[in-house]
């Protein structure tokens, strides 16, 4: 059985070229069996716009070096964790003075070594691997300048009834710089210049020169629930001013479709009953 915990799941640092830093990780074997583990760091590039990544050893930057600061363990050296045992691994990250000022993304992996013991049966063996992301911004400034743009800010549906179904906001933001930033901002919904509701954005990492679809607080979809008064609504997407992302607006309309449909239905019914009744009355001579 493979059962590991790794903490923290992600680290984010800004560092100057020529500087090194250390980060302690706690790895725990939650199983009842000893396990032989190993460590590695692999660079990644973001894939898609929802926090996915893609690995390739070809991406490794020689100016960013990783090592373990543990006295008895090197990166890539196997070690054993007894049942329920925890161990601290101290990752040292060094950016050489020649490091280009930009972001560097990697994952620190703890993986199970493959049991190569011979067997005499048709067998597949599973092995486990668990990773923690390392997001590094190499910069001479503690607060690297960022800017971006809203790639998508749309509402669905554009026209909706006063009752039923929510208004959904789809947001995609583009980071146009070499440094990642966090999506700090809000959606403000106005009707007749009066604020109806504010939705805070979830703080998500928008990696350098990449797009990210955004969610609202508590990692939920950004929605506006009915009932809503009829009229034209405007939603404005604003980000914290230090992100340098221009705000964006979109509109949607709420119409009393279901009340109108109900009135029409009742009117039709009344008219039908009246017409039927009138038809059944015998003509007086």
């Amino acid at each position: 059985m493979f059962n590991l915990s790794l903490s923290p799941p992600q680290i984010e640092f800004v560092l100057k070229p020529g500087i090194s830093l250390t980060q302690a990780y706690q790895v725990t074997n939650n199983s009842q069996q000893s396990i032989i583990l190993n460590t590695e760091v692999l660079p990644f590039v973001p894939q898609g716009d929802n926090g996915s990544v893609s690995y390739s050893s070809l991406l490794a930057n020689p100016n960013i070096s990783f090592s373990l600061n543990n006295a008895d363990l090197k990166l890539g050296q196997p070690f054993t964790l007894s049942p329920k045992e925890s161990r601290q691994l101290v990752l040292k990250i060094k950016a050489s003075p020649q490091t280009e000022l930009a972001d560097y993304y990697s994952t620190f992996f703890i993986y199970q070594t493959v049991d190569t013991s011979a067997n005499d049966r048709n067998i597949s063996q599973s092995t486990g691997k668990i990773g923690s992301h390392v997001l590094l911004s190499v910069s001479t400034s503690e607060f690297p300048q960022t800017n971006g743009q809203v790639k998508k800010f749309i509402t669905t549906p554009k026209i909706k009834d006063v009752f039923f179904t929510k208004i959904n906001f789809s947001i995609q933001i583009q980071n146009k710089t070499n440094y990642f930033f966090k999506s700090l901002g809000k959606i403000t919904i106005f009707k007749n210049e009066k604020i109806i509701k504010q939705l805070n954005l979830n703080s998500q990492n928008v990696l350098a020169n990449h797009n990210r679809s955004l969610l609202c607080e508590n990692q939920t979809a950004c929605t506006l629930s009915p009932p809503l008064w009829p009229g034209k609504y405007t939603a404005t997407l604003e980000f914290n001013s230090n992100l340098n992302v221009p705000s964006s607006s979109t509109s949607f309309f709420v119409l009393p479709l279901s009340p109108i449909a109900l009135i029409l239905l009742i009117s039709s019914l009344i008219y039908f009953l009246y017409w039927t009744k009138k038809k059944n009355i015998p003509n007086k001579v």
Binding site: Q10, K16, L21, Y55, S126, T220
Partner: protein
């Protein structure tokens, strides 16, 4: 008696005013700046009671740290306490013994994976084989499913006894073992859908087969590994290694 009650009701607001104390929130101002909220708390860390757990932070900005040490945590150090639920990953059975294989009869093995992620993080689980099922120089090929329409990233139905190869299916389940397809529905429609593993020996990258964008606690999936061989398959003891990789969403 009536007068007494009237007097008591009238005096209540006065008593409240006299006994209440004035509270001030942290609010620092000068002609040049105003701080309405910041990291001026006196403590930090994890607070627990029987009904809640809370984290807070102090001194997040660590003035001067960047200029003295040359680095700083980009998000402060609140993220360190992102560990109320640790990032955890487990695989139930590591050995998948297929035993003797019969031509035209699919043989399956399965194991259960469990994932837990801390607040703020979704997850992805990827898979890659070191090589196809191998015995000496003979291999059991990757499945291409019933209609040659599945590959290392796309699943398709695989039920025909005449469709040969090695592949896998993954379905989200609950703790009772009932299929929910949570986390796996984007990759496998139901239990008839399979796809082959990507392979290190072919220079492939690991491919995602389960993911969610929100934090989860003990989400499970059943992975079913399937082999179906033809009468022409060379005899031998076939084996390989499947690496299952759990990473958080950034």
């Amino acid at each position: 008696m009536k007068n007494y009650k009237f007097f008591l009701i009238l005096s209540l607001p006065i008593i409240y005013h006299l006994l209440s104390t004035i509270s001030f929130a942290q609010n620092f101002t000068s002609p040049n700046y105003q701080i309405q909220f910041g990291n001026f708390n006196m403590t930090s860390g994890k607070k627990n009671s029987s009904s809640y757990t809370l984290t807070d932070t102090v001194g997040q900005n660590a003035p001067g740290k960047y200029s003295s040490t040359g680095y700083t945590a980009k998000a402060g150090f609140q993220y360190i306490y992102d560990t109320l639920e640790k990032f955890s990953f487990s695989i139930s059975d590591l050995d998948l013994p297929f035993g003797s294989l019969t031509p035209n009869v699919g043989s399956t093995q399965s194991n259960i994976i469990t994932i837990t992620t801390p607040s703020g993080h979704g997850y992805e689980i990827l898979a890659i084989a070191n090589h196809p099922l191998l015995a000496n120089d003979n291999t059991i090929p990757d499945t291409s499913c019933d209609n040659n329409d599945c590959n290392k990233t796309t699943s398709a139905p695989w039920t025909l006894p005449t469709a040969y190869g090695f592949g896998f299916n993954a379905l989200g389940i609950n703790t009772s073992g009932v299929v929910t397809n949570i986390g796996t529905s984007n990759y496998f429609t139901d239990s008839t859908y399979y796809r082959p593993f990507s392979s290190q020996s072919a220079g492939d990258l690991p491919q995602v087969f389960m993911s969610e964008n929100i934090p989860v606690k003990e989400h499970l999936a059943k992975i079913t590994y399937k082999i179906n061989i033809s009468h022409d398959q060379a005899s031998g003891t076939y084996s390989n290694n499947i690496n299952l990789i759990a990473i958080p969403k950034y």
